[in-house]
Symmetry: none
Subunit: 125 residues, 4 copies
């Protein structure tokens, strides 16, 4: 059945993920300017082309906007920010549940296990 193995996600997607998370978490706020392609390339030690591709990817999803001659900025469109936030959350959750089910864990067990970790900072009912 199984085929080959992951040679890991492309760097430009890893970078996109990281930026998405920084935006969603509020580390990067609406209207914030992202580092220039060249700055980002240096600080992340990747090729500028790779950063370019990441920015293009993010712009395609609407979460950032490129303004010619000025730079790349986090969108201030709240709908897009909100839906991105929801989408990332749901992706994570779906993936998590998928994996847990594949390993044979039942819903109750998953929730019980999770509660164990979340309790202390959260609530339960």
């Amino acid at each position: 059945m199984a085929d080959t193995f992951q040679s890991s996600q492309p760097i430009y997607l890893q970078l996109a993920d990281r930026l998405n998370r920084q935006i969603v978490s509020g580390e990067l706020k609406p209207g914030d300017k992202l580092p220039s392609v060249r700055e980002m390339a240096v600080s992340s030690k990747v090729n500028p082309n790779t950063v370019q591709r990441t920015y293009r990817e993010l712009e395609a999803s609407g979460i950032v906007e490129s303004r010619r001659g000025q730079g790349t900025f986090v969108t201030e469109n709240e709908d897009i920010l909100f839906s991105t936030r929801e989408k990332l959350k749901n992706d994570q959750i779906e993936n998590f549940i998928q994996v847990m089910h594949d390993m044979g864990y039942e819903n109750e067990e998953i929730q019980a296990g999770l509660r164990l970790y979340l309790e202390g900072g959260g609530h339960n009912d």
Copy 2:
């Protein structure tokens, strides 16, 4: 900045993970024989040495037993099976929560989101 990018987990660990999950999920049952090193190497398209290393890893954790001249078998030791199952579960949960927190989601939001999938959707396949 602190970190670069992941260059992916070693193949022998990816294989170990896969087998661990198959055992934990019951797809491979206690006493079952795993494919021989050579078979697995062919079907997974990796070098026999890499499979060997995987099997060795699994044996070190006690989840399988290798019998020279016979094959490699899923342990029938229930304690080890149980603790492996628990460990994998907790690893997944911890990782999930870690990621969610990094993205700025609060405990309540995580649990609410999860409940939607687990209770609302009856997300079984």
Copy 3:
């Protein structure tokens, strides 16, 4: 009859044993750097892979720590050092007693013989 003849311990375990003893005896001190994989391979006249395996084995037991790009170092964790020291001691003692019993020596004779060497001879060098 039951058994054939020993075809000797694997090289990587012989090497591990030797290093374990050097650590336990204090010849290699906590924090000391072990020879690099390649150096050790040359000086021991074995393949670097074999040394790698030895180092990996030692790291799994916690007695050494490998730092990529830097080298392999004796742990400074005193608990691990102590328990390794105890384990090696007990292994030796158990084996010694096993052999002596197999040859038909009684406990009193063993202790008497030992005392001769330890107290009579002042067997220090």
Copy 4:
């Protein structure tokens, strides 16, 4: 310093050791006939030449006697039996102490450790 690794003791010496121990332990008694070279070769799954060499070795030490046309017998010379018994014992003890000292264990620690094993369990064989 250290050179290469043991490719294990020659089989003829392993066989000699085993027979020496059987004699010293009384499993083979004075006057007992050892299996013929051919029998021993079959039962131990080694080459008859190897057995031959073992017997020659044992005869050189006086612990067995070859009688032309009759076979090989455990000596009935009590002096030789006794001194062999003592020699084997002392060899083991010396070696044991040597190893323990090399690993940095002091005399008191050795004796204390040994006592733990000898007094707790009593003896049996």
